[in-house]
Point group: C2
């Protein structure tokens, strides 16, 4: 690939409305609802080059490019997706979707319930990874995509990519699961629970009906985000980026002032997050993480849970990720190998912890790029054959 990698440029969010209620894991049928999504690149004639990108906790359908009216709002995986990038939009038709229950455009707890005329709040159903995948499959139907060339995600998004493989084995050729896990550990759940308690015990949470009070449980959200942030970064990268660096030359001898750079950074991240993220969405998404456990209905045998999967797999983990450590990816690899699936696994030596999946590590980018080049080649023959056939016909005419 000698061409210069570029940006998809100006993009536009779209919305699709679904009138038929969606059967949910909690037993409810939820709907009507809307999903926000974006697409980049061009769907080929036989609709075989579509790639679905699934997002994690704090992301959305805005995966690449910028908005005309918000040129600084770069898609969250813009380093990964674009012309000449690992997921090359000159070859692939990429779909980003905002999940049900999120707060960036799809129907969520902040949306107005047609039953009450007020925001759903705590009445919004507790969604699961499988619910999201079912909703995404309906979006694919709406877009006329029968089968994805790949479904791809990192962290919680990786869980969705994995769930696609056994829920809709016929509908994807490749599953790309990055920095993910087949289920949360007790420690993972513990961090989620502390974050939830910070939110739900904030007096401004009002049992999830804070919209009706015109307030936001900002204190709880701030603390929740700070906790999350610690788990996204490796101890090493925190040491390197912040260490014990001080804001001022001397200790403040104060209990509320900022002394250390790391304090300042975390407060800033927490406050920023509290300014735009919906508290109920935070609760929903952490619960979806807790609940994800495909082996649970199969006697806790992950291989059994993945038996139906027929896709080929790329798994990537990062050595310093202590939220979803490489061992967790290896569990998935083992379960897939037990089912004799084709699996490529890369353990990338990166210093950035869990966050590495969002960052531009050369080895990581190279692995994904070469994997998607292989996918592109497997698509090309029929498209190429069709083009040759057309050329031959033209020549004969």
């Amino acid at each position: 690939m000698s061409k210069q990698a570029g940006s998809v440029g100006i993009v536009q969010a779209q919305r699709m409305r679904f009138e038929t209620p969606l059967p949910m894991s909690n037993g409810q049928h939820f709907g009507p609802y809307e999903l926000a999504y974006e697409t980049y690149g061009t769907l080929n004639a036989d609709k075989s080059n579509a790639v679905l990108i699934c997002h994690a906790l704090n992301a959305s359908h805005h995966v690449a490019g910028v908005y005309a009216d918000d040129p600084k709002n770069l898609g969250w995986w813009d380093n990964m997706i674009g012309p000449g990038k690992p997921v090359d939009t000159d070859r692939f038709f990429v779909v980003g979707v905002n999940n049900l229950g999120s707060c960036f455009g799809s129907t969520g707890p902040h949306s107005i319930s047609p039953l009450t005329g007020k925001p759903y709040g705590p009445d919004f159903p507790v969604v699961t990874v499988e619910d999201w995948v079912n909703a995404q499959a309906r979006l694919a139907d709406g877009l006329g995509i029968e089968r994805f060339a790949a479904v791809m995600g990192g962290s919680l998004g990786g869980m969705q990519a994995l769930a696609w493989s056994y829920l809709y084995p016929q509908r994807l050729a490749h599953s790309v699961v990055i920095a993910s896990a087949p289920k949360l550990s007790a420690q993972n759940i513990a961090f989620n629970e502390v974050a939830r308690r910070a939110i739900t015990t904030d007096p401004q949470f009002h049992g999830g009906r804070f919209y009706d009070h015109g307030v936001v449980p900002a204190r709880g959200l701030e603390v929740a985000r700070m906790i999350g942030h610690i788990t996204y970064l490796s101890d090493d990268v925190m040491a390197e980026k912040f260490g014990r660096a001080l804001k001022n030359a001397r200790y403040s001898f104060s209990l509320t002032d900022v002394d250390f750079e790391i304090e300042s950074y975390l407060r800033y991240q927490g406050e920023k997050f509290a300014g735009y993220f919906d508290a109920n969405t935070y609760l929903l998404i952490t619960r979806a993480l807790d609940y994800y456990d495909p082996a649970r209905d199969h006697g806790h045998h992950l291989a059994k849970a993945l038996e139906k999967a027929t896709a080929q797999f790329l798994l990537v983990s990062f050595t310093t990720d202590w939220r979803f450590a490489p061992e967790r990816s290896r569990e998935i690899v083992q379960a897939l190998l037990a089912n004799r699936r084709k699996v490529t696994y890369a353990e990338v030596d990166a210093p950035h912890g869990h966050d590495a999946f969002l960052l531009e590590d050369p080895q990581y980018m190279a692995v994904v790029k070469s994997y998607f080049e292989r996918i592109a080649q497997s698509i090309a023959p029929s498209a190429g054959a069709a083009a040759q056939a057309r050329a031959a016909q033209a020549g004969a005419a």
Copy 2:
């Protein structure tokens, strides 16, 4: 040692009052003040068998035994200290002290300020590890102890034992530093900062003057304790103790109910803690942890900072401790060896994470026991010689 290890039995807390203000690291002179303490065993004639025990965040002077009126309130290191135990009270005179600023009997933020007639609250000075050691040295003066056979502590208590070695090199023969670190990492500080933010942003904190409002920032304290608890346990022991075990057979599909045992455990620990611990003390003690960094005034050379230390050292770390990992103890060991100090270092293979220093691991107990037997032997000769001399005199008479 064939004798049965036992308890020190019924103990009584005592208090010592200090009229002369203590020069503090923040520049203030603080006092008068009181320190709560307990002693077990008997101080020998030449006062050479005294052992000082320094406590960590959530502990006190109540190190061993029980109170007559509270027989379930067992000292926090009762498994370590008592007749026949690793720190054998048949041989040693053990002193437990509650640090200045704590909430278990010594003068702290909850105490009435003589200046205002109200609790100190946020006016209580920000104390440091060195301040605590200076206060402990005055307690030793009051008890007539010129030189400790050993100063010992775990975690933050280990920092105090280390600080004794360079602040008062002539006043201790041995420093016993368990599960500790020469300074906090950025990640350690980050966890402290989140805990502090949870407390200080609780509306019931009232800028630290919650006493005047008759309330307690319980929500903040609860979240702070939950965060702390996660860092005390290893991922492995959490997995083993709780895993993904559910309270009920099915998921609740609720965002506020408890689904997982680990959630229930953390909430219980958080609520219990909020019921007895002082929020200002929590802030003070985490700040003392953040600030501790003896190398800071020595060009960040730990060996230089420890140059004055003449004691012999025992350091113990635990393989699964990710709060103060073995590497952190090894930094201290290296710095001491660079100064040609006598150091015994044990890295104990224990599954319990940071909490291991409080638990009864056989290898850990054996290491401490044999180390203190060596200390006892180094004390015995002179005492033995004195006894022999007395016996010889008696025989001659």
